[in-house]
Amino acid sequence: MKKISWKTLAVLFSIPALALIAYGVIYACAGGDWEGYDYDSSFTPEVYVDESYAPLFYAPNDIFYGIGFDAEYVGRFNDDIVADWSTYLKGRLSTDEVSMLLLKEEGVTAVSQLYTALQKKQQPPPAFSRINLVDERVKGFIIFLNLAKEIENASTTAYEWWDYDESKKQPVVTPQTVARAEQLYAGAKDEFLKNRYWFQAMKANFYSANKQNATAFFEKTRNTVPQNTLYYRSMAYVAGVAYQQKQYATSNYLYSVVFDKCPVLRTVATYNFHPQEEADFQASLAMAKNAEEKATLWSLFGYYADEKEAIRQIYKLNPKSDHLDYLLTRLVNKEEISLNSEGFTSADEYREHLKRQVDQQTLQLVTSLAKEGKTGKPYLWNLAAGYLSVFNGDNTQATQYFSKAEKEAPPSDLATAQLRILRLINTLHSTNRLDAAVETRLLPELEWLYKTGDQETLRSMHVTSWSRRYLASLYRHQGNVVQGELFDRNRTYYRTASNLEAMKAFLQKANYTPWEKMALSLYDVNLSNIYEYEAIMAAYEGKLENAIALMQKSGNTDQLPGNPFNGKIQDCHDCDHAAAQKVKYTKLSFLQKMKEMQTHVDKSEDIYNNSLLLGNAYYNMTYFGNARAFYYNNILDQYGIYIDDHYNPQLMTCTTASRYYKMALAAATTDEQRAKCVYLMAKCERNEKFKGDPENESLAWEGFKQLKTKYAHTKYYKEVINECSYFSIYLNRGH
């Protein structure tokens, strides 16, 4: 498996502490298990902050926000260099040709052949005949590429992970190539070419065996070259060399300059900024030539260490600094995420608890800077101040901050939506009681929010689920169980009879208010589900007539996958489900059949067969039987292998089945029949007692005992030995 080498970084660049801690977590691409940045956040950093800062937004589980690991080391400037050279070669080479020569694998061969043709004053090879080697600029480009490709051998290598030699012995740029690069730079007359050669010379030195020469070359030439991307890329090389030489102050200072002046390298600069001790950080600050440079150093410090301290320092140096913006969003995100993890049952307690948890220093800092209004984006600070004030219970102030933000802010859909969300949060926080008037006021906001749903950038999901929980808690506090349940489903709601009746009544109303309509749209249980739930619970109690009536009311037509009247030796649900069935039962027809059988039993008609089949039916209705589908219902909500303790009596015990098997046993007339009954009773006992370890548990169930002592002569007995290994083990133990 080939690995593209980022050897520069492995060798030189540091791995900052926080990166290491987050290292084990791989960024999951959209579509995976990851819940999104808005799982617990409602403050969207993208709203007002320049997108060049986006990778630095707060992302607790990623190295960089939105992108995870920075994987652009090889191709980061591809578009740039194609654009630069295409412009220079306009009219001579097409963008595609330029791109091919610069970036594609075929370009390597092409350059080699074209360069040879140039040297030998020959025509270009037929494949590239369209390239005009007479043109000065084209010639210059080919000569340049010849050098650049050679250097690229050392700057971008690929090696096999499992080859130690390959990985340890990577090509470096030779001194000859370094010299050639520097000569070509010195001799170039064309300004554009000269600049490109300058960068190649930097690169050649950096990827040679003597990296420190890159620093020397930079120092010698930096004042004669334009301060463009190539300049800052070179500065980043020098910063890396400094780090390797343990000159941390210099390294960090240089990275901060790159951070400030070359936004496209922001991730690189951030990743490699790594002060070791107070002393070297202070030394970096001393190297800063002006307030801007100091502010940038503090900005990087803020990213890693302490946003509050950084904000204070930067504000003193330059209140209009752009760097303040993203630091503010980080601070707000951090604060709200910790506050948003608070659960609540009572709104009052919740608000009090929040207020106690709010970091007062953060609140102070943000609100005072917002009030002073001196920052570059005062509307961002007002938005943040308003939001934090909400948590602190200062709802009136929050309203004021939000108004100010709205007045001053540049309009955008995202900003409008964000403000609307924060205003809603504020409104809800100030709501203590729900009545028709309040509901009318809240309705348009909630309808808008719930319709908005999951958005790519706007953080709407947390406030969606939070608002529902909050409203539900208010309703429950007021004793309105139905509304509480509609907004925030409680898995145990239906276990209380009065709750169930109340919801049934509500779902049968003829007319709904707009608010109720909205609440209903959020709810995923309907009347049919409730009747079905009641039917199922009645069935377990043996109230078959009731169960049938309720099941009919529910209109449920779900089929049971297997024959629910089977009573086999081995419980193989899949086998039963796959077997051909002449009659397929629905939950309703199943109950109806059971009722038929029960009627026979009540009239003492063929008690053996009917009670045996009823025993099987009640057995199959449990978790242990082949008709688990019988209890699948979104209120019961027991679809898996872990059954809620609450439903143990219905799903995890076979008492009813056992009772019918006992009845059958009493009515049996042959030993074959009796053998069957006692075995089926043994299954019931197994289900309730057996933990699953035949080596270390007793298998001396009553049914087994009976089978062994009384029915060893039957055919059924032999079948059991054949199919039930537990019985064989039991026999071998010879109790």
Binding site: M1, S14, I21, W162, P275, Q276, E278
Partner: protein
Amino acid sequence: MKRITVLVLLSMLAACRQPDHAPPAISFYYWKTTFRLPAAERAALQQHRVSTLYVRYCDVALRQGQPVPVSPIVFQEALPRSVAIVPVVYIKNEVMLHPNLDVADIAQKLLHYIDQINADAGIQTGELQIDCDWTLTSRDTYFRFLDQLKRQSAKRLSATIRLHQVKYYATTGLPPVDRGVLMYYNMGRIGPAAARSIYDRPTAQAYLGSIHAYPRPLDVALPLFTWAIHLRDDKVIGLLNKTDRDTFANDPHFEQKTPPFFEVKENVLKLGKYFKQGDRVKVEAITADDLREMADDLSGELAQPPAQILFYDLDASNLNHYNHEKDLLEDVSRSF
């Protein structure tokens, strides 16, 4: 009469405590990515008559879903001729959990990789040790992998065994190796509680009783290292290797109110990390007494005396903690 018999029996038992075999050899683990032996480490090898050094050659982990070698060692110096090297490879359990892992292929690649490292450094090795904290789910794959290693190379194979793999060997299994090394450290949780994660006697005692029943012979690995745990709001936010009490005791930004904790009194950048006021740092160290206690406890439980004691890890900064106890390692070894 009965009382005399009891006394005789007791005195016989007491006599049994004196081992009448040669004490186990002293060895070290070497766990850095660049192999160099400055004077102090070289002297330690001599002083303790070390004949075998267990050197981490590489880790194996998943990168982009594939098992690959990570951070391989580079030899910048040669070993003293009297010391043999045993390559140790740390394999992350995630590799053994990888579905459809081609164990034969990975074994072959790893053996070739080790050969390359040896060729590069002019070393010959006759044994290989694998360090992997396998689980019930990865057990079968891991054991098949060890099997493959054995088949494809003529070398002796050893593996590290952790306490839970001794106690529950009935389910965790017995790795198919020639020799096991009981890793008697890192037995606790890395967390905000006062108890040490490197070594905690109550935790160890939960396992000691089952060591005797382990059906294979075991060597023993003991810790010589220190570290500190960086805590914020009672959560672990960093692990500071090779730091000790002195790192923080002499720094006015830290104050030790309740050992083993230091409170951060003032924000400070230190050791490449940021310590915020209110953070805590928990320093963990292994004392000479700890080592003696470990030796005592273990020697009473092992079914057979170990052939070696492997100390983790060879580093002057570790050894310096025991300068006042000249024969500590020998004492520890003699307890077995």
